[in-house]
């Protein structure tokens, strides 16, 4: 398992290091390649922490997140990618009855979300 840096008080979340991914595309592909058991373990492991995580992230202005908090941010955003699958799709790693997911392109897919840039920048 890869190692991640977490702020004091959040060290217990290190077991979810595989989900600390910078970009929407990485989180999307990780979810697609996962298994029902791993999706559930991650979702159930993060959910009780979420309010506390968001509170911690809100100590910093958007776009000025220190590196010490990138992994924490990434975990909070990865759980969004995973949540519908556990909450709504019976833990299926793919969206049921969906279009081929990897043909669907997010313009912001390669952007590190923690950087706080607008997802579709008007001027590119």
């Amino acid at each position: 398992m890869s190692e991640i840096i977490l702020p004091p008080g959040f060290e217990a979340l290190a077991v979810h290091a595989e989900w600390a991914l910078d970009t929407p595309d990485e989180r999307h592909r990780a979810r697609l390649a996962s298994t029902p058991a791993r999706l559930e373990a991650f979702y159930n492991g993060i959910l009780p922490w979420l309010e506390k995580i968001l509170e911690e992230l809100d100590r910093f202005p958007l776009g000025a997140l220190p590196e010490s908090h990138h992994a924490l941010f990434n975990l909070a955003f990865a759980v969004i990618e995973v949540a519908p699958h556990v909450e709504l799709y019976r833990s299926s790693p793919g969206v049921p009855f969906a279009f081929e997911e990897l043909r669907f392109v997010a313009a912001h897919g390669g952007q590190p979300t923690w950087a706080g840039r607008p997802p579709a920048e008007m001027r590119r």
């Binding site: 959910l47 968001l54 910093f60 759980v79 969206v95 392109v105 997010a106 001027r123």
Partner: protein, 397 residues
């Protein structure tokens, strides 16, 4: 009035008969659509804010118009459109990297990389290397970029590929402009953009998004607690059309959805605290109003709601291929938790779009079998009936 058939009764000229499949699968019909629609009517190709500074440009491929349009802001601040073709030997002046290419020139010039011909953001040909070696037939002053008619309404940039458009943009928009003009599109610039190439006719894609009848079935996965309570306030305005999509919400939001709802308004399935919509939108202030679904003919769907607006665009690439683009505009977040809540909304929205697009290629493939020659529409599918009628009017004109 028969409530089951209220839209048909209000618009008797549309009839109630079946809709032919042929226009969806016929290459010949598509050729007519190119000539009589996409090369003649106003097409929405950008937001003005996509080219905010002088020298900023966007190149958009318009396959159904057999060209690529450069949308560029001049040094005078005016947005203009040109064909992306060099006056020399026809190379693209801006090298395109895909369906949409963005760029910026601080000097306000675009240089063809083939032989270095330089054009200003106003389209004028400014510099030709070895100009003296050309012949008397060539005059720099007459050989700027070929202009495309371009106009702006509510921050939306439109082009018209006709040599001489049959009507102005405002005349083309007609009642549609009055209907949505009160909505402040420019107030929301923060947006998410998705796109994909679909192996289906552009009208298959349009139709799949132009009704709410499918919500209970297609979106049973992503919006299981949301049920269509039908469409309201149908209004047909020349070639354009609109209606209100109403949704009844169930009582079981998910844990993540509940937390996100506390942090920002990103989802269409959340009730807005108060409505700031113009009086033309949801005029009866129905509590189950979710969003206005309007079709800006021919290929743009504009949806508006409180604090959210989004578009779908269907760009035909061939009779059986369509570029779909979705853009979802929300309030700019100020905190990480608000940004997180928006991510929750857009991921669920993306999944719903994955559910929507899932049917399109299947539908087109089945249509091509020729097994059925018609489709049957129910009353709440009036926007599809109107769309088919308008397209056919243009094609047969």
């Amino acid at each position: 009035m028969n409530l089951q058939h209220r839209w048909a009764e209000a618009n008797p000229w549309l009839g109630t008969g079946p809709i032919p499949v042929e226009p969806y699968i016929s290459p010949a019909y598509y050729e007519k659509e190119k000539e009589k629609i996409f090369k003649r009517v106003w097409l929405c190709v950008a937001r003005e804010a996509e080219v905010p500074q002088p020298g900023d440009y966007k190149v958009k491929r318009i396959a159904a118009g057999d060209t690529s349009a450069i949308i560029v802001r001049g040094k005078d601040g005016k947005v203009r459109a040109f064909h992306n073709m060099c006056s020399h030997r026809g190379n693209t002046v801006v090298t395109e990297t895909g369906e949409e290419t963005y760029g910026a020139s601080r000097a306000g010039v675009m240089t063809c990389r083939f032989h270095g011909w330089v054009y200003g953001a106003d389209g004028a040909l400014k510099q030709v290397p070895q100009e003296g070696r050309f012949f008397a037939c060539f005059d720099k002053a007459d050989n700027g970029l070929a202009p495309i008619h371009c106009d702006i309404w509510q921050g939306f940039v439109f082009i018209n590929l006709a040599a001489q458009p049959e009507e102005s943009l405002m005349s083309f928009l007609g009642g549609y402009a009055d209907h949505v003009a009160g909505y402040d599109f420019s107030a929301l610039t923060y947006h998410y953009h998705y796109h994909t190439m679909l192996n289906c006719n552009w009208k298959v894609a349009h139709d799949a998004f132009a009704e709410a009848y499918h919500v209970d079935t297609i979106h049973a996965g992503s919006f299981p607690n949301t049920f269509s309570s039908g469409i309201q306030n149908v209004k047909l305005m020349g070639p354009h059309r609109t209606c209100a999509v109403c949704l009844t919400l169930g009582a079981n939001p998910t844990p993540i959805g509940t937390l996100a709802a506390e942090k920002a308004r990103g989802s269409l399935t959340l009730r807005a605290a108060e409505s700031r919509l113009p009086p033309t939108i949801n005029p009866d202030r129905r509590s189950d109003f979710a969003f206005e679904l309007s079709v800006l003919f021919p290929n743009t769907l504009v949806h508006v709601s409180d604090g959210i607006w989004f578009t779908h665009q269907f760009w035909p690439v061939a009779h059986n291929q369509t570029l779909w683009e979705g853009r979802y505009y929300v309030q700019t977040p100020q905190t990480h938790s608000a940004r997180w809540a928006l991510e929750q909304a857009i991921i669920l929205q993306r999944n719903a779009w994955l559910e929507d697009t899932a049917t399109m290629e299947d539908t087109h493939r089945a249509m091509q079998s020729g097994a059925k020659q018609v489709q049957f529409l129910q009353d709440d599918e009036i926007l599809i009936r109107h769309g088919a009628a308008v397209v056919d009017q243009y094609v047969q004109a």
